[in-house]
Symmetry: C2
Subunit: 394 residues, 2 copies
């Protein structure tokens, strides 16, 4: 279903971006899989495999003999050609018939999600096309592959919503488990146990999903839960998501561990938390089709720095899909590592996280990560945004 839906979408995108043909060229996909493959074929491929979509919607696959039946079974290809000794001749023959002005292939400097073609396979393809005088027709499929992943269908959004629901329910259970004296690792293990009980998978590697950071002086992000003990007066933050039908959630929540006698967080923690809530709201109000990620990031970042905190050393938000980081357009600053991503304009169907952070000295990291989908006029929440610190009584 997904495969037919996405291939049809790809044909429309070829016309939209004035490209003649999209070619995905890959081999031994269990080792070097192109991230676009789940939209084209349901399993792994062994030998050099070519998947071609034309702007007229015509589709062709050229695969090794043993992979043929799986591709035929998708019902998404007008013709599936199988080879035993080599892909070169059948691919050249088909391209000569098609004679496309442009052949869009999956490479991109600026977007990892569109960069599934390895350099070795690029050289092989270039050599193969040179033999039929078409080497100069290769262009990047970045725009097409970006749009294919970013413009989510109702079915894809539905899976993400379901992943968000599970994540929020497991966070609620974690709040009941959190207590002074517990370690980061114990909290993470209890959450992971619930993931397994529900028959789910974590959205990213188990080592850092969930990630749990208690108090000051932690690794802050991307680091596995440690034996560090949760103490009264700590700010605790967590980063966690699951997959439903291969689609991810990615949410962060912030907790405060009350001191004995306290009924509310102290002023410094409250101020930090409220700053993050305001930062997210500033971003959300900017988000609509046509806005750039750059301006959205800047609005949220300004709330944090205007309040006197150090700016966060990462983008404000990323797209979510089959990977936790999935998409080209990014809510981010114009830093080298983000290439042109922050300059892309928002489109309906894009799913973003919004996740500013700041440090409250001596307490810990305050961060919220919630998720929205861009609509025709603005955004819609996919999660129930955290609006209050979660207070934990010792």
């Amino acid at each position: 279903m997904l495969i037919k839906e996405k291939i049809k979408q790809a044909a429309g995108l070829l016309r939209e971006f004035d490209l003649d043909c999209w070619l995905t060229f890959t081999r031994e996909t269990a080792i070097n899989g192109d991230p676009v493959l789940p939209f084209l074929v349901p399993g792994d491929l062994t030998w050099h495999s070519s998947f071609l979509v034309g702007r007229d919607g015509r589709t062709k696959a050229i695969v090794g003999r043993y992979d043929r039946q799986m591709v035929v079974d998708t019902g998404a290809y007008d013709d599936v050609e199988a080879f035993v000794t080599g892909f070169r001749e059948p691919l050249q023959a088909y391209l000569k018939t098609l004679n496309p002005r442009t052949i869009a292939v999956n490479y991109s400097e600026g977007s990892e999600i569109c960069d599934g073609l390895t350099h070795g396979m690029f050289l092989t393809l270039q050599g193969t096309l040179a033999e039929i005088g078409m080497a100069d027709r290769l262009v990047s499929a970045e725009k097409l592959v970006s749009a294919l992943r970013e413009r989510k269908s109702a079915v894809e959004i539905g899976h993400i919503k379901e992943a968000v629901r599970h994540t929020q329910e497991i966070y609620a259970l974690a709040a009941g488990f959190l207590a002074p004296g517990k370690t980061e690792k114990e909290v993470a293990d209890s959450m992971y146990g619930e993931v397994v009980r529900r028959g789910l998978k974590t959205a990213w590697g188990r080592e850092t999903c969930p990630a749990v950071y208690t108090g000051p002086d932690t690794a802050q992000a991307h680091y596995n839960p440690t034996g560090r003990t949760i103490e009264r007066g700590h700010v605790v933050n967590m980063d966690f998501g699951v997959k439903v039908e291969h689609y991810c959630s990615d949410l962060q929540r912030t907790f405060y561990i009350l001191e004995e006698g306290e009924d509310a967080a102290p002023a410094d923690v409250r101020r930090g938390f409220e700053t993050i809530v305001r930062s997210i709201e500033a971003a959300r109000l900017m988000m609509k089709p046509g806005a750039t990620g750059l301006e959205v990031d800047a609005a949220a970042r300004k709330v944090v720095t205007d309040a006197g905190y150090e700016e966060f050393p990462h983008a404000l938000g990323h797209q979510v899909g089959r990977f936790p980081h999935d998409g080209t357009a990014l809510l981010g600053p114009a830093w080298e590592k983000y290439a042109r991503k922050p300059f892309r304009r928002l489109e309906p169907g894009m799913v973003f996280t919004i996740e500013p952070r700041l440090m409250v000295a001596g307490r810990g990291i305050v961060t919220i990560e919630d998720m929205v989908v861009v609509t025709e006029t603005g955004t819609e929440w996919l999660s129930d945004p955290q609006s209050e610190l979660i207070l934990i009584r010792g």
Copy 2:
């Protein structure tokens, strides 16, 4: 442990192949991971990350700020530099100090296992090096990465042996479960249940691991078990493996379902099976350091065709490691899709499957896949090779 061991091995390989520096350059590895990464770092990386090994054994990593601690914790790098906005300046600065004549990077037309660098990342690297006049120093690291994966340590061989042991035990259980009237899918599910009970993972995708094919007219390979029913007089073959500590097994076994009143397989099935056993033995006797995969494949292939069967449309055997297909040298014919792999010479420490196949008309596919490690003088079995048809009484 593995990381320190492999990085030390890499420094030796730089000297052996007269290279100055090995650079692995990658980003968002959950999306486009380089298959060599598990030898360099224990988890996923987000931003543009560089891992450099010099021929003097000096090591350096340049990674995003949040990934730094994980890399430091390996204890395998002399220096781990973290960046916030971009990788370019720190990488250029380090390379200017090192001033290597050659910078070997992970691309290869002929070997997928050495082709982890995407084309987009190659372009980024080329641009980065051009700014410091080093773009022409990029060379392929194929030889180094091949040897790093192919020359297995005692620890790696130990994991593979353990995976083989589990696989053989589960095959023995499957023989007790196999019976006329069962479907391919029921047999596969019972084996998969045992994989789960043992807390293991399958060596490749669950859909085709185990693969079960009963009787004539099946998809033959790489296809998921169907509702096809096992019948008396069928030849049944299976392809199955598991992972232990990330290292794989990959074994095929052939069964014959006795007709009522039969005590042995009929002559046509026996003749097919014996041909496969002889084919494997012919290959094994050729295998020793210095032999090419081409000549080993030819010896085994000749036994099958001399006996009047159609030749198998795939290579005789592949290397096994962290993937079921893992390595450059291949026991295969000189077909286009195998590039130069069959021309590589065998080296001690390489782990190969040997897996000829043939069809017995009206009965099914006869195939055995066993595993050997190349030693200084020949080979050693890693599995207990199948020498008799497994007879199933109805």
